[in-house]
């Protein structure tokens, strides 16, 4: 059971509390090296693969490896109960800390309770847990929507017709981002005509939906998309749609387009956090096990790049895959992977 203490956290730049009200935890110090587990849900997209590669790379860094007796990763697929069971199994097998990318933020109540009773440090990231009893390494999903909407509002001061490409229906991430966008638009008091289509965070799907929307609506004044951004731009190009301001995520392909077509009007805000947040989560878990003070909810800095600041070799990599998410570094936490070294790592090792 952690002690509730007052801040600041051990590494305040990295372990930034979510709000001023955020509690701080101090777990009883345990002697290392530790057994740490990562319970991932589904695995079959680039983001997740990149995340797992980052986790392995981070755990293998000499200073981190020295603190770890074991680092085990299990991916349980789409099914929430399977993930719950995996965490239960980790608890029963006596792991010191469990890191989770939760399939469903609200489903883990009983396991959180068990972990707490067993004195296990539970850290959630990316898809975090709806609880104050575990540590959340958090991305401000709603804030992301707000950011994109503000970007569009800045470029379209009079409002306009917007295409919003949404993610996977039924998830909280999609809903949060959507709400952020709409609340922000509403607050401007301008007239916004938002056409929503569903891209499912998938390039071909988003591309198709965008192409259809363009064929029927002919012209949009601005576009925002969560995931599938590369496909959305591709659809604009294919349809000869004029380039317009765009708020989107951080795929390398998207950023390539943003850099290339900025002059023609593709003014982008590209923001999000990369899969490297898993490293922050591991770091947090180790810190907690070492008895350091950590916030219950850690706010990850958004990696934001906006027009005209797209820099080749830093914000995007023209020769690399479209699919990976740039912004894989958290300098404030001393985590400085570049995406391509992550995705290439095993290749070199082999």
């Amino acid at each position: 059971e952690p002690e509730i203490v007052s801040g600041p956290a051990a590494e305040p730049d990295c372990f930034a509390p979510w709000t001023a009200e955020t509690k701080f935890f101090k777990f009883p110090k345990k002697d290392g090296p530790y057994r740490v587990a990562l319970a991932n849900g589904f695995i079959a997209n680039t983001w997740r693969i990149q995340m797992i590669q980052t986790a392995k790379a981070y755990a293998a860094q000499p200073d981190v490896a020295a603190k770890l007796k074991e680092f085990k990763v299990v991916s349980t697929g789409e099914d929430v109960p399977a993930q719950i069971s995996a965490i239960n199994n980790f608890i029963d097998s006596g792991y010191d800390a469990i890191i989770v990318n939760a399939q469903n933020p609200t489903a883990f109540g009983p396991v959180i309770k068990r972990a707490k009773e067993a004195g296990i440090v539970l850290v959630a990231f990316d898809n975090i847990l709806d609880t104050e009893d575990a540590i959340n390494v958090n991305v401000d999903q709603k804030g992301l929507g707000v950011l994109w909407a503000n970007w569009l509002a800045k470029h379209l001061p009079e409002g306009g017709k917007i295409l919003e490409v949404r993610g996977v229906a039924g998830t909280s991430v999609d809903t949060d981002r959507h709400n952020g966008i709409h609340e922000t638009f509403a607050a401007t008091g301008k007239k916004w005509d938002v056409v929503e289509v569903i891209g499912k965070w998938d390039d071909p799907t988003a591309q198709k939906a965008t192409a259809d929307a363009i064929a029927v609506h002919k012209k949009f004044d601005g576009i925002t998309a969560q995931g599938g951004d590369t496909g959305v731009v591709q659809a604009m190009i294919d349809a000869g749609h004029p380039f317009v301001p765009f708020g989107g995520e951080t795929e390398n392909g998207f950023r390539k387009f943003c850099a290339k077509h900025a002059g023609e009007g593709l003014k982008c805000s590209s923001a999000g956090t990369g899969p490297a947040q898993v490293a922050v989560a591991i770091k947090t878990a180790i810190a907690a096990l070492e008895g350091q003070v950590v916030p219950q909810s850690i706010k990850l800095p958004l990696a934001i790049v906006e027009d005209p600041n797209f820099k080749e070799g830093q914000d995007f990599y023209p020769d690399q895959s479209d699919n990976f998410f740039v912004g894989n570094a958290f300098p404030t936490c001393g985590i400085n992977f570049t995406a391509q070294e992550i995705m290439g790592q095993t290749k070199e090792n082999q």
Binding site: V74, P81, S85, N104, G109, P110, G170
Partner: protein
């Protein structure tokens, strides 16, 4: 042949399912860091029971030579519904449970009506109804949330006398109260008969429609129980499309592993339960063995491939090639 040989022959599929499960589970437990403890069994039981309900639902329909590609979505829909109404005191909770089960049953009845009275092919009819059920689930839960009567949930997902997982007890009760009577009923026999040979069943005056309808209907009920248990297990409702599809696909794998013939007429829901537990254990194996995380999905695929190929060993014994086509 003596009587027990007949029994063995009748139960061959189910026993194969049991054997596959036992082998896999022993290997799993033997390699589990915590070993064979009440906790480990409890965890495996809770996870297995969910798929077991869905697999039983699938088995009932498969026995009629049909297939239900909407079971996973019935699970999702009932989960979303339960997260709204299985709350509050004893009476509202009980009413909520009844309403959730009734909804599952209704979904099954719709599938049955389309297949039997609408004369649609089960594969496509249930692909379509699956979309509808998922859509309804999404209407109920545009994003994850809701709650459930936690006392009831804990009781049904906890342990009896500190050792026996109560979810297993619930599952056994369902087998006893639904499957066994069904199998012994005229409708149940009609379901088997229709699955084995519909023209012969018709000529024999078997109430085919009633039997098939009952199978679909009970299938919906069982899938609804799965949804209810999902809610008990997660305290929440979520319209997760990928998860619904995954349950559907794994339910097919489970019935095959459990010795239910996809051609109809043969198999038992008990076998499907073992199949479900075996299927779940393929995932658990990855936990017990130290497998590179990126290799896990591949390994699971290969284990599944091997498990479903086991049945084809019998083929080596076929000496009259015409027997291939039975």
């Amino acid at each position: 042949m003596s009587e027990w040989r007949y029994w063995l022959n009748e139960q061959r599929g189910t026993l194969t399912g049991l054997a596959i499960f036992l082998v896999m589970f022993s290997v799993y437990v033997a390699n589990h860091p915590a070993g064979f403890t009440a906790n480990v069994v409890h965890t495996a039981a809770n996870k297995g029971v969910l798929l077991a309900f869905v697999a039983m639902a699938q088995a009932l329909v498969v026995i009629t030579a049909g297939i239900d590609l909407s079971v996973g979505m019935i699970l999702v829909l009932t989960n979303c519904l339960a997260s709204w109404i299985v709350v509050g005191g004893a009476v509202p909770t009980a009413l909520g449970v009844a309403a959730v089960l009734a909804t599952g049953t209704l979904c099954g009845a719709i599938n049955g009506a389309l297949v039997i009275y609408g004369r649609l092919q089960p594969i496509v009819a249930t692909i379509a109804t699956g979309a509808v059920y998922f859509g309804l689930g999404l209407l109920l839960r545009p994003f994850p949330g809701g709650s459930v009567n936690e006392d009831l949930a804990d009781a049904l997902t906890g342990r009896l006398f500190g050792v026996i997982p109560s979810s297993l007890v619930a599952l056994a009760a369902v087998v006893l109260l639904i499957w066994l009577p069904f199998r012994r009923s005229v409708a149940g026999r009609a379901a088997f008969a229709a699955g084995s040979s519909e023209p012969a069943a018709f000529m024999s005056g078997v109430p085919i429609r009633r039997g098939k309808f009952a199978a679909y209907l009970l299938g919906g009920l069982l899938a609804g129980m799965g949804g209810l248990f999902l809610t008990f297990f997660t305290y929440t409702g979520e319209a997760a499309y990928a998860s619904g599809s995954a349950y559907t696909l794994w339910s097919i794998a489970a019935v095959v592993l459990g010795g239910v013939s996809l051609y109809g007429g043969r198999g038992s829901a008990v076998g499907a339960i073992f199949g479900a537990f075996a299927a779940r254990t393929t995932g658990d194996m990855l936990f017990a063995f130290d497998v590179d995380p990126l290799w896990q999905p591949l390994l699971q695929g290969i284990v599944l491939m091997i498990a479903v190929s086991i049945g084809s060993l019998a083929l080596l014994r076929v000496r009259n090639r015409l027997d291939w086509f039975q």
